[in-house]
Amino acid sequence: MSQVKSIPKKAVQQQKHDVVAKKSATVDETKGPRNIVEKIWASHIVSQTDGHPAIFAVDLMLLHEVTSAQAFQTIEQRKLKVKNPERLLATIDHSIPTRQNRWEIYDEAARSQVETLRENCKRHGIPFFDYDSGNQGIVHVIGPELGATQPGMTIVCGDSHTSTHGAFGALAFGVGTSEVAHVMATGCLLQEKPRSMKVEFRGSLKKGVYSKDAVLKLISIIGVGGANGHVIEYTGEAISKMSMEERMTICNMSIECGARAGVIAPDEVTYNYLKGRKLAPTEDNFQEAVEYWETFRSDPESKFDKEVVIVLDELDPMITWGTNPSQGIELGKPIPNPKKLSDLAKKDLEAALAYTKLEAGKSLVGMPFQWAFVGSCTNGRIEDLRIAASILKGKKVAEGVTMYVVPGSESVRAQAIEEGLDKVFENAGAQFRMPGCSMCLSMNDDRVPPGERCVSSSNRNFMGRQGPDSITHLASPATVAASAIEGKITSPANYL
């Protein structure tokens, strides 16, 4: 039994306090203890008029091919310039193939998206990480990898998983294409101050249980809309012990409970990760940067609008059974069968089970499936590949299962090859592919066929997410790898 301590709703609501209420950001909030969200917010307010949203400065915007073309059109139609090309970084990830000859895109629209971004970047002087630049990859993998993501920054991208960058103590969130255009033209956004929520992960994870499991547990408790309007700060012993890769997985999934962003205060782990990265401060001024970054930490006694505590010691690996990321259980537990539900919630539950062809009351252990996917901005980093490889080493992927291992970036791929992980995957019968978003969202050639089931290290199990009528079970890379060996859903504990 995992011990989950979640503050009851009533208690949580009573903790609402006034700091967030209205009033301008810059004046009052310099007094009294402030949390990390308030500190980053306050340091990025350009202007605030009562009754209006704040003008909020953006330090870095990441671009990819799917949500940027219309934004370039907007600014060009208005005869505006890209105001701060030095604050933009672009790459291609969503609609590109992950086979070897990936530059040959057969889908004309997808090819045009890629070419459009390449041309737009060239025209506006924006760094563009193209195929074989050595740094192409999923935007949320390459930002941190290049050291472009840094503590105290504000980062946006036309992609909801921008929350990933919060692992570095940055305030990072997804925006739509209109807002991408606003940032291009002005370097700023109109923003309402977000509310804050503290999630404390206590204790430590058992062997075979990872940060993916911890965040899936959180989402299963608070629901897909549980953090709407809030930025989550993740704290606690378990977080302190995590690597940057693990922290990124947690922050990445913040959006799956509706949070605007997820943040983790920077510490030695963060600084060690950044040191020596291509776009990080150089050695001669690194210490000075660290001193600045150190200021972005919640003060003791600082308040949050909501607080949740989760004890992780007894947590087992998580897996989703339904059609949104909150519909998850610990492996071995039965699919819930709640009695008290509104008509609407009951219908949603029935629809989810009908879609995934499962029954309430039953466990998922032993469920056969056809596809296994390790990759995505959630779990496509080197550490994720190492974990999958450690389980697959000397083993074979079960007959009837197709396994894709898709590195999050060219640099992750190169590192994996250097460590010989490619051989491990190939010997196991898995496909080690080229970097991109791949099978996470069925925008490219990598799709789960209709009616087939995939155990996936990605972030969303929405209906049709991995392909029309495909069924997704979200899990950690370890659970994906162990299950792939058996051809049935299983716990990685037996393989570690």
Binding site: S47, G51, P53, I55, A57, D59, V66, Q73, R78, E86, L89, H94, D107, A109, K122, G125, I126, P127, F128, F129, D130, L146, A148, Q150, G152, S160, F173, G174, V175, G176, S178, E179, H182, A185, C188, L189, L190, E192, V224, G225, N228, G258, K278, L279, P281, E288, A289, Y292, N324, D343, L344, K347, D348, A351, L441, R460, F462, M463, G464, R465
Partner: protein, 214 residues
Amino acid sequence: MKKFRPISSKVIPLPKNDVDTDQIIPAQYLTSTSREGYGENLFRRLKDTEPDFPLNQPRFHGAEILLTGYNFGCGSSREHAVWAIQGAGIEAVVAESFADIFANNCAKNGMLLVTLQKNIIERLLKRAETQDVYVTIDLEKQVVTVNEGLATEKHYFEYDPFRKHCLLNGLDDINYILSHDKEISDYRERNEKTWSAPSTKKNDRALAIAGTKN
């Protein structure tokens, strides 16, 4: 952006919670570089798998208001979701609540989102199962009027005053932000020394690493 005017329409009922943007428009339809042409793939899967889905029924043709449950628009940040809804002729969505990024995207496209209490939403969705429900939304007064024969019920809804001003006057954010150009330059100057401000030198580094030639 066009100015928002009161609308009266039959509602299109979508009795679901947590409708995600992958359901609104699946990713495989996002490969266009334009803002047009997404309407026909709005709720593509529901249209293909549920013959009774309202958008398959002629009696909902031309309806401009969508009625749904809790946390509508969760998931991906794709603005294509808003373009698809607008492309299908829908001007407003009435729901118990909305996901943040989706709500933001709607505001930037002149699409009105109205939040009503759970019990009202559930009652209206129930009623829509057996009969047509007609609704008028007046943003100026922040009132939703439900018409049923000779009887009407009125529900006040909350709406951010700044957003209301923008919607009613067809204003978008770019001009508002641009009008603060001086403050933006001052801010950048003040913060030039902080570590979060990339220098031109750093841009050169990024361009060099990317191998981008300009």
